[in-house]
């Protein structure tokens, strides 16, 4: 029991310490592929430290909601991390239907981030806000249905049990195609929710074409640090949902399992870097189609699982 708690606390500590590092890996991969040397690996940490030392400029249009947005975003992602198992161990909080709370916590964070964007009265931020709202309305059902599929395959209703029971045996059974479709759907949701190519381009120079970055144009200093850190944690959270499926090997030793998890997350980050280097962002009108494809893929498991 105590060991379980230490393991889950260790998982949370890893997330808090290493989450920004995933961004370094993505950036370094992209830099290497395009023949640049790339920023130092610790650059995200330097940026966070710099932002945390700054003062603030608030738009005179805004209200308390603008200031509450970044905090709500950070706190809800932190809550989500506490619900997620790491490295084969159990999550800190686990109960039947905990993934519902996880999904809805992310929704709360999004709700406040979007309202904070609308609070500025800027059209650019409004644009980002409505795209984020629309795309997440399409990706949320995908996530929930995919989790239903995983629940049906493993016969359990909490994230710890679901990810604890996914192993090579589950894959090798007749459920193989079902799991692959869920994985593909999760991958698209992962890219969309974390504002990556092909849904959103975090490095574009034009406000008009951005989604997530457009929403946070007016945030600065500590608020921006909160948002950046929450973004890194979200990448970590949703990443774990994917890597738990791809690398389901369990040794039963905390350090070994943690290493596998960390390694798999790093691999995922490299994959994102490769995707971002090899393709451009989709036309805005195409994104709902991509997300609809993800939705359809997240429903297909029913053909194999329910007979």
């Amino acid at each position: 029991m105590t060991r379980d708690i230490f393991a889950s606390l260790g998982g949370i500590a890893f997330a808090l310490l290493l989450a920004p590092f995933l961004r370094s890996i993505i950036n370094r991969t992209k830099a290497r592929i395009s023949g640049r040397r790339g920023a130092p690996l610790l650059q995200p940490y330097f940026s966070l430290a710099r932002l945390l030392r700054k003062g603030a400029v608030y738009s005179s249009t805004t209200t308390w909601i603008f200031r509450a947005g970044p905090v709500a975003g950070l706190v809800t992602v932190f809550g989500a991390i506490c619900l997620l198992p790491f490295g084969g161990g159990p999550a800190l909080f686990r109960f039947e239907g905990d993934f519902l709370l996880l999904t809805y916590l992310l929704a709360v964070g999004r709700f406040f981030t979007i309202l904070a964007a609308l609070d500025t009265g800027s059209s650019f931020e409004g644009m980002g806000a409505n795209r984020e709202a629309f795309f997440s309305a399409l990706s949320e059902p995908t996530l929930l249905l995919g989790l239903a599929g995983l629940g049906a395959v493993t016969g359990s209703l909490s994230l710890t049990d679901i990810y604890g029971r996914i192993g090579a045996s589950v894959f090798l059974e007749a459920n193989m195609p079902a799991l692959i479709f869920i994985l593909a759907a999760f991958m698209i949701v992962f890219l969309s929710e974390n504002a990556r190519i092909p849904v959103d381009d975090p490095t574009t120079h034009l406000e008009l074409t951005m989604i997530h970055e457009a929403m946070i144009l007016d945030h600065c200093g500590i608020d921006l640090a909160f948002i950046e850190f929450a973004g890194a944690l979200k990448l970590w959270t949703l990443g774990l949902l994917i890597t738990g499926l791809i690398f389901p090997v369990r040794f039963g030793v905390f350090w070994l399992d943690s290493l596998v998890s960390l390694f798999s997350l790093a691999t995922l980050a490299v994959c994102i870097g490769i995707v971002e280097s090899s393709m451009a962002r989709l036309k805005m009108g195409r994104v709902p189609q991509l997300l609809s494809i993800a939705f359809v893929m997240s429903t297909l498991w029913i053909m194999w699982v329910v007979k």
Partner: protein, 661 residues
């Protein structure tokens, strides 16, 4: 107890009469009548809580005429649950009403007060009535009282149209109920609900008739056409009562009739899930494209009724296939009924305050109200988050249970019921899509109305309403938080009610699964509470860090363009544009206006309008056809007495012939 119940009904009538009598003394009348109405609610709450906690039921029989059967009334856990919502919300709405009318129209205001009380009492009467005669009597009292509330501003043509819509819809629905009761009564040879046993094959027909009849009142998508007309027309507290409680009597009626059947066949579940999914997603989609704040909320009521219906459908499925989670889904549906009554009335009250202060309900003409009306804005934000089903607010409790039941159903079962698993799968998909769209809808409603800059100058200073209107909003908002954080207790309270929802021939008394669900929800509450504390801690931390540093304020970043105006902000219409583009086949939104042309464009304009798809493509053709047919039949009416005598003779002869056969 029966004294309190009858007393409650009488006090509602009494409160209504005071509203009329005190017309000449507005000051004392505004105090006395609401006090009387509050007393009625307290009178009602005692037996309701008693019934809910003791799981007993109270029977009352009133003989009022030697010709007719006595009026049978019965308060059982199911009616008690719906009455609980009524007694929490109605006194608050009455108090709000005392502050609502600024313009001096004593006649209309007193009539409105009267019918408001009659509507509240009528809803309670509907919940109590347990024989055909008194049920239909109560149903008509309720429906007609609501009609008089809708036509408050009766000179306005659009209000007349709304009233006409409502009256036609409610009576068409009642026609189906008449047919249903005729069928039930003739089958069982009695008027009393208790005698309706052993329905057998009739049950299927009764179910369909109930679904249409009660569905019209509840506002299932397709039968909802009166909601978006009637809600904007009525005064806000009246819309709150109609949307929060009156439409729930439709759900109540459906459940009441369903429990009469011997068994619940699987296709009932599929039908309810289908109706729920279409209402949920359709309601949310149409809510998103509305420009009128109260019309948006009317569509949102359709969406929430859809969620309730999904829960009931899942419950029917679960019962049919003896799945594990029927009760959980039913409990979720019932909880959503109560919670929707709370947050939707809250939203309507704030919308009323906004309309009052600014004189408009057009979302795209508002903006920046959070600064001008901070208290109303805060309550609206809270209720919006609740309607989106976000934890830790009360909207999440019901949805959590319906989700949980569906996920249970998807799991591998001992008995191979494919239907149940596919049903659960459909419910998850529908709920998730509904939830996402509803969130988008209320982000638009709150964001455009309350955030940013005011889009136009208002004639009068825009401020928070007076305390009589503000306090009911506060109390409802507080209840939204309290019922969310204390969701486990709510689940335990609703457990006995949910356990009464089963086919007549089936005995289910076990509520252990629901106790498990309550325990699960305790985790949600605890985690939410911890995160709330963390939220305030981080808020303080940020403010603490900023203390010694330079904190300035400036204009919003305009990407280098310094001359932005409030008119250039994103509007509600712009917010829903990507959705309109993606769902244009379904929504059929019409774009109109003068596009800017040439090198030096002149005036240009743009407008969007989304017609009610059912009115345009179903009801209009249908009623035009009926009208044509009626005109043809009119030829029989020549006006000559001799022809009518001939008709009489023909009728007599045909009756004679028929009796000879």
């Amino acid at each position: 107890m029966s004294f309190l119940i009858v007393g409650c009904l009488l006090l509602y009538v009494f409160a209504g009469v005071i509203f009329i009598l005190m017309r000449s003394y507005p000051q004392s009348g505004t105090m006395l009548a609401p006090l009387c109405s509050t007393l009625a609610a307290i009178f009602g709450l005692v037996p309701v809580l008693n019934v809910l906690l003791s799981r007993a039921s109270i029977n009352i029989s009133i003989s009022w005429s030697s010709f007719f059967a006595p009026i049978q009334m019965r308060l059982d856990p199911l009616s008690g649950w719906f009455a609980l919502a009524l007694f929490i919300v109605s006194p608050l709405l009455t108090w709000y009403g005392t502050g609502y009318f600024p313009h001096k129209r004593p006649f209309e205001v007193s009539i409105n007060g009267f019918f408001f009380q009659i509507l509240a009492g009528g809803i309670f009467f509907v919940l109590l009535a347990s024989d055909i005669f008194s049920f239909l009597l109560a149903w008509e009292i309720m429906s007609l009282a609501a009609f008089f509330l809708v036509i408050f501003e009766h000179e306005d043509r659009s209000v007349q149209r709304a009233g006409w819509f409502y009256l036609a819809a409610t009576h068409l629905g009642t026609a189906f109920l008449f047919a249903m009761f005729v069928l039930l009564g003739s089958r069982c040879g009695s008027l009393d609900f208790r005698d309706f046993v052993g329905l057998g094959g009739v049950a299927d027909v009764v179910f369909i008739l109930a679904l249409i009849g009660f569905g019209t009142k509840a506002g299932f998508f397709g039968l909802h056409v009166w909601l978006p007309e009637a809600h904007p027309a009525a005064p806000s507290h009246a819309s709150a009562l109609m949307s929060g409680l009156m439409i729930k009597t439709g759900v109540y009626g459906l459940l009441r009739i369903m429990t009469l059947a011997d068994s619940w066949p699987g296709w009932w579940g599929w039908t309810l899930i289908g109706v729920g999914a279409v209402s949920g997603v359709g309601g949310a989609l149409f809510a998103l494209v509305q420009h009128d704040l109260k019309r948006l909320m009317a569509y949102s009521s359709v969406e929430n009724i859809g969620i309730v219906c999904l829960g009931i459908g899942m419950g029917v499925f679960g019962t049919y296939s003896m799945g594990p989670a029927a009760q959980i889904a039913m409990a979720g549906a019932l909880l959503h009924v109560l919670n929707h009554a709370l947050f939707k009335s809250c939203l309507f009250l704030v919308a009323g305050a906004v309309t009052h202060a600014t004189g408009t309900r057009e979302i795209d003409l508002l903006g920046g109200l959070q600064k001008l009306m901070p208290r109303s804005g805060g309550v609206f934000l809270l209720a919006s988050a609740a309607v989106c089903g976000l934890p830790p607010l009360n909207g999440f409790v019901g949805e959590f249970l319906i989700y949980l039941s569906s996920y249970w159903s998807v799991l591998p079962q001992e008995l191979p019921f494919v239907d149940l698993r596919v049903g659960g799968f459909v419910v998850i998909a529908a709920l998730a899509l509904t939830g996402g769209l509803a969130a988008m809808c209320f982000m638009k409603a709150y964001g455009t109305t309350f955030l940013g800059l005011p889009r136009r100058q208002h004639a009068d200073p825009v401020v928070d309403p007076k305390p009589a209107m503000l306090f009911p909003m506060f109390i409802l908002g507080t209840l939204c938080v309290a019922f969310g954080l204390g969701g486990s207790f709510l689940i335990l309270l609703v457990a006995p009610v949910a356990s009464t929802l089963h086919p007549a021939a089936l005995i289910v008394a076990e509520t252990s699964l629901l106790r498990g669900a309550a325990l699960n929800y305790m985790h949600v509450s605890l985690a939410s509470f911890a995160l709330l504390v963390l939220f305030f801690a981080f808020h303080r931390l940020r403010n603490h860090l900023l203390k010694g540093r330079v904190v300035t304020s400036g204009p919003t970043w305009g990407c280098g363009y310094p001359l932005g105006t409030a008119r250039m902000q994103y509007t509600g219409s712009s917010f829903s544009q990507p959705l309109i583009a993606a769902f244009k086949l379904l929504l059929r939104t019409e774009l109109s206006g003068d596009w800017p042309e040439g090198y030096l464009p002149g005036r240009s304009s743009f407008a969007t309008h989304t017609p009610g798809v059912f009115i345009e493509f179903f009801y209009k053709p249908l009623f035009t056809f009926v009208g044509h047919m009626a005109l043809r039949v009119k030829r029989l009416q020549t006006g000559g007495t001799h022809v009518y005598v001939l008709y009489l003779l023909l009728a007599l002869i045909s009756v004679l012939c028929w009796s000879l056969l």
